[in-house]
Symmetry: C2
Subunit: 289 residues, 2 copies
């Protein structure tokens, strides 16, 4: 089974549990709307790729971690799209959850997906109890407060934003979570992979800012121009398109160079360059590669 | 250390982690506002009381479960109070989180508390890996979808509510989670305690409906009359105050009678009657006792 298939199977299984018979129908539809069809599934792919590079010692645990990370990413998109934040009517080319089902359902869809993420890891690691707590603690750190996704989003409500802290929490933290849990699930050392996670998270942030600035909906599915409209920090506004592209090149190089010694080192490096190019605005990809 | 002290220490520890240095200041203040000072802490007390009745074999794990359950209860109050649901300006005699810090922060406070709950259990059960997954799966079932708190709240958005399913998910599920995790943490069998949890959950729901109907802010801290104003199901509207009081008496008896064989059986029964009376509207307590 290839990585994409494992991820989609993991997501389907998680949603089968959380929208099982007896679930309020709108909540069930909203949760599925938030998760299928998916975007690029960047973070869970990275998680599984790292797990494979570390020897794929426990595929079930790695798939559970990857699934949890993607569920949490989807939850954050649902909540970020709500009227009190980005007020985005669309996501991944269709209505956002609150636009389709109302704010109440959207709020609960996000909450339900957060819970489903942790439930997935617990359910799928019963056979490997020594993995459960480290995986859940790592994922919680990546998405919670004070340094994860929730904190990243919360920086937007502060009168003064530290842009580095903001990006680290809003984007890099979940990449770090994906990489760390991939390593943990295979008995690898998460520390060996953190430079890579950090560089890659920053690279995707720059790519996302570029999409926003040049007016295309990016790989993260956010409507273009939204940062500017919402007065949000965007690196292109501070160092320009050329500057941002240069930054992106440096970050992808840094990520590729930091792949630790492992069986599939060369393949992993190639994958990083490939994914990084694939997720960039097409008209810029050539110059950044 | 008595139960209340263990709970407050557990909550303080969880909040120290999730609002540590580097946390966005408004998020940190909002999270503390949502959690301190607490209400009656009914669910975590019940969790710790069951753990004690089962022999208190792992106090650290029981305290972690109790803390997680209370964090999730607090998270649900923050989200339920938001404008798209109850639009409640006050909670536990002070401003609700969204009234004090705005909707954005309130949404994130709820999300952050959900994550902190699971993080707490993972962090505090590293010494007992066989407890982590069962505790987290049990808690997730109690608060998530399709049968937990999130689903209970989601029933309010459906065109037709099954009132039994609604109350079971909205109230009884978290009581079941509290009781089950208390038993699990001490090596007891959660099944032995589920009749008690179910009866007690229903009793508190009836007590809460009574508070709402007679115009007092109840033990759950919800402003009086809110159900009527929001067109929500309330048992008093269907069977009257006397009918509801009779129902409450039956449920408390059922709960007390269902305490399984254990060292502290008599003390546990007395505690249930005592807590049930304590949490009822004062002018009704005498007739319901």
């Amino acid at each position: 089974m290839d990585l994409s298939e494992r991820i989609e199977n993991g997501m389907q299984l998680a949603l089968r549990y959380s929208t099982a018979n007896g679930c309020p129908p709108l909540l069930a539809r909203g949760m599925r709307h938030a998760v299928f069809p998916g975007g690029a599934r960047i973070r869970p792919r990275l998680c599984l790729a790292v797990a494979a590079a570390c020897g794929d010692r426990d595929q079930q645990a790695a798939t559970a971690a990857a699934t949890a990370i993607e569920l949490l990413h989807c939850a954050s998109l649902v909540h970020d799209d709500m009227p009190c934040f980005d007020n985005a009517a669309t996501r991944r080319g269709k209505s956002s959850v609150h636009a389709e089902f109302g704010e109440e359902v959207a709020l609960l869809v996000g909450d339900g997906l957060i819970v489903a993420a942790f439930e997935t890891v617990a359910r799928e690691t019963l056979h490997a109890p020594r993995l459960t707590a480290p995986l859940i603690a790592t994922i919680a750190k990546a998405v919670g407060s004070p340094y994860g996704l929730v904190a990243g989003q919360a920086w937007e409500s502060e009168p003064e934003i530290n842009i580095d802290q903001y990006h680290r929490a809003k984007t890099a933290s979940l990449f770090a979570g994906a990489v760390s849990t991939g390593a943990l699930a295979s008995g690898g050392n998460p520390q060996d992979w953190l430079v890579l996670a950090d560089a890659l998270g920053s690279a995707y942030q720059v790519a996302d800012d570029l999409y926003d600035a040049i007016g295309k909906t990016g790989s993260m599915g956010k409507p273009a121009g939204q940062d500017t409209r919402n007065g949000k920090p965007n690196i292109v506004l501070s160092i320009g398109i050329e500057g941002a592209l240069g930054q992106l090149r440096l970050l992808v190089d840094k990520a590729a160079d930091s792949v630790p010694d492992c069986a599939g080192q060369d393949a992993f490096r190639a994958m990083i360059r490939n994914e990084a190019t694939r997720l960039m605005p097409k008209q810029l990809a050539a110059s950044a590669a």
